[in-house]
């Protein structure tokens, strides 16, 4: 069976509200402006695209990181074999076409001819084999290797045909490799630079690395011989702008000031800051559903030995009444309407709203805010407020719990409301925020905490398998029935059958109150008026190749 390292998946794809270039891939149309580049493609086009971000790249080697901040930069340098069109159907990028064998175990890709890497190396079947062999080689220790755990081998059939053989049927395979973590790297460059490839990345993408001032900025410049195979691209060649810059600006105030002066011209916004950009004379605001994301509260759990099933919730949440009290006690609609400024949609189940397996009928099985119900569930289990301090107790012990999440200004507000709402039903909550890196390192030990506010993002319904395959919280929910359903679902290729299985899995998870699903959020970008040709691609990702910036 696959061992999916979901910690890394999460770190890689977790929603960073302050950054652009989120990758999602399902429902939701990209909003595009008229392709002004055509009209003005002669002279005076160019300029610099500058984007503020909360942090820096750790490496440009796509096989050595799953950090979202790195991905957002290197996804412009490399290209995958396949990607999505605007209708979120697969389309070939470096692969011209592909075939899947009857038994679902062999994928054969016909590759594009005449494509060159940024260092002049030819793109061919050998490069594809080199890339995927490198990913699954234990020596590489690629954190993304788990996403293609079913991949057994990659074979070169001829110069432009490559065959991938899976060890078992694995429905999410194509979706998982349709992402730049599996972008094809130049074999020559990897051999030349060795360990330093992460500082000297070479792919076939629209942009190549010009300068990386660690901790400060990343500067990419257009690749002169770039060929754009995306169907939504009007510009089929080299990007129009001179450079694409990612600037480190951890403080949102700094970023906003820089946006006002024009030092940066495209920026992701916190829900909180959107109000300041309502007057759109100097800029345009774009909103986009984070199609693959789900925000939820999970409970501390004890680890389950590999291969065994079941679930052990840490006390006091080993009592389902208490878990349900949390589910009934949180008023998600109120949080969405206020601190999230309406930039999220209530989701009653764990399946992200943009994925094909999402079914609104799950609402019937979800938990609707009901403070009285929450209180009565607590009372039913013997938790009552006898000393009148607002916090319930049982056998002289107060129900005081610790909630963890990572450092983020929007989440800081969200968890304060959750603290207040749970306080209203008698659950005392202490909040603790940690840097994302530290948080994920600390989560496997359930001793110091009881609840976690978490956001997961993934482009494939297999997320329901992945989120129960980590080593904390709902990741230790190894209920035999549930695992059976989601395992069957990832081996099923039929669309409707899979969807039905995931619905069943969600019902089971909700009945057990194994986690408390809250919402699927939306993200907002703001673009200055002197930026021409900005548009969003599939799933709301930014398309930078057609932008030019007026001085």
């Amino acid at each position: 069976m696959t061992t999916f390292d979901a910690t890394n998946a999460l770190a890689g794809k977790r929603i960073d509200r302050r950054t652009l270039g989120k990758w999602g891939a399902a429902a939701g149309l990209g909003i595009g402006m008229a392709p002004t580049w055509i009209a003005s493609a002669q002279d005076g086009i160019g300029g610099d695209i500058s984007i503020p971000r909360s942090g820096d790249v750790d490496t440009f080697d796509p096989h050595h990181t799953v950090a979202g901040l790195s991905f957002q930069a290197f996804r412009h340098i490399y290209e995958p074999l396949v990607s999505y069109n605007m209708d979120l159907e697969y389309e070939g990028i470096l692969a011209e076409s592909w075939e899947i064998s009857e038994d679902g175990l062999t994928y054969t890709f016909k590759l594009r001819q005449g494509v060159k890497f940024q260092d002049g190396t030819d793109f061919n079947a050998a490069a594809v084999k080199f890339t995927f062999d490198r990913v699954i080689d234990p020596v590489t220790a690629a954190p993304s290797a788990g996403w293609v755990s079913a991949l057994k081998e990659t074979n070169v059939i001829d110069d432009y045909t490559v065959e991938m053989v899976l060890s078992e049927n694995f429905a999410p395979f194509l979706s998982n490799i349709a992402v730049e973590y599996f972008g094809i790297v130049s074999p020559t460059a990897v051999e030349t630079y060795g360990e330093d490839f992460g500082r000297n990345p070479v792919g076939t993408g629209a942009w190549q690395l010009k300068e990386w001032a660690a901790g400060e900025r990343v500067t990419l410049e257009g690749y002169a011989d770039y060929q754009n195979f995306h169907s939504y691209a009007d510009n089929k060649g080299k990007p129009l702008a001179d450079s694409l810059n990612f600037l480190n600006m951890p403080e949102s105030e700094t970023a906003m000031a820089a946006f006002e002066t024009g030092q940066v011209n495209i920026m992701g916004l916190d829900p909180n800051d959107v109000r300041q950009f309502e007057d759109q004379t100097e800029h345009t605001v774009y909103k986009q559903t984070d199609v693959g994301s789900i925000a939820f509260v999970e409970f501390a759990t004890e680890p389950i030995p590999e291969g065994e099933s079941g679930v052990v919730f840490k006390a006091p949440f080993d009592d389902i009444n208490l878990r349900q009290a949390v589910a009934y006690g949180i008023n998600a609609d109120e949080i969405i309407a206020t601190v999230l400024e309406g930039l999220a949609q209530r989701n009653y189940g764990p399946m992200p709203m943009g994925l094909f397996a999402y079914d609104p009928a799950i609402e019937e099985y979800g938990y609707h805010f009901d403070a009285e119900k929450a209180k009565s569930l607590l009372a039913e289990s013997g938790w009552e407020d006898s000393d009148g301090d607002g916090v319930v107790e049982k056998d002289g012990e107060k129900l005081e719990v610790v909630l963890w999440t990572w450092t983020d200004s929007t989440l800081e507000r969200v968890i304060q409301v959750i603290q207040y709402q749970l306080g209203q039903v008698g659950i005392g909550v202490k909040l603790e925020q940690q840097e994302a890196g530290a948080l994920f390192a600390n989560l496997p030990d359930p001793t110091p905490y009881n609840l976690v506010f978490m956001i997961w993002g993934w482009s494939e319904p297999d997320i329901l398998y992945m989120m129960t395959d980590t080593n904390w919280g709902v990741g230790n929910y190894r209920d035999a029935d549930y695992r059976g359903i989601v395992t069957e679902a990832r081996q099923t290729t039929d669309f409707d059958e899979r969807k039905a299985l995931y619905f069943q899995a969600q019902q089971k998870m909700l009945a057990d109150a194994a986690m408390v699903p809250l919402w699927t959020s939306e993200s907002v970008s703001v673009v200055r008026k002197n930026v021409h040709g900005y548009k969003q691609g599939p799933g709301g990702s930014d398309v930078f190749t057609e932008i030019w910036v007026e001085d």
Binding site: N272, R275, V339, V417, Y420
Partner: protein, 300 residues
Amino acid sequence: MQIPLSSDVSTNVTLANQRIIRTPFQVFRRRLRASTMTLTGVAMVLAVIVLAIIGPYVAPEDPNEMNLGNRFMAPGREHWFGTDDFGRDMLSRVLHGGRESLMVGIISIAIALVIGVVVGLVSGYFGGWFDMVVQRCIEVMLAFPDLLLAMAIVSILGPSLRNVMIAIGIGGVPGNARFMRGLVLAQREREFVDAAIVSGAGHGRIIFRYILPNSISPMIVLTFMGVAGAILAGSALSFIGMGAQPPSPEWGAMLNQGRQYLRTEWWIGTFPGIVLVFTALGFNLLGDGLRDVLDPSVGN
């Protein structure tokens, strides 16, 4: 002629002496009255203390009561200081927060005073290798900026207001100990100490009965001057999230919360800022004034 003259002089001298010699308390009061700044400081500090005591009783609302329908209300008749991003009444929060800020100032300074005085006394009195070791340790601690030292301590103990008090208190120890040691060294060589030793007094008795009472007053002044700094340090730590935890209405934490809205909802950060400045200014004026009043070397 000579004698009456000298007698006149001596009479004059006597008169002059009568005019100048007053009890220390009278001098203190006179100087205190002469300084409007000091009096302003006293008034401000008293106001803050009164506020901290009665604030929670006069606050119109529960400071932590969220009313999400009333977010971002500008200051007005209903909410004098407006409401914050959770619809909480800012006036109630500011009033409740005073107690926390004042507590940080006083408790942390008390910790610094007690430990600093004991360490300084013992180190200065015994001298020798013991003094040597203690002083080197103090120098190491003094090499760190105060706030950095406090941050390091809080990160070890974990973020909470109680730990902030401990951290700031410990941060104040080396300075106090060093100062106290200097005072002790000056007293140790005095005749009354020799007299005590001759009369057979033990170390404890000499330290606490003779040296401490004679050297403590400058120490008290120094401490008082540190209160403003301690309050600001406590707020600074809360500002960066290491101190008071939500939903506590600590002023520094509120300032941090308001920082994000300065361009749009100015009142969320402004009111906690004003009271914080007011409090720090009050303690500073009082501290400066006390120094002028008690320091004989500063003019008359």
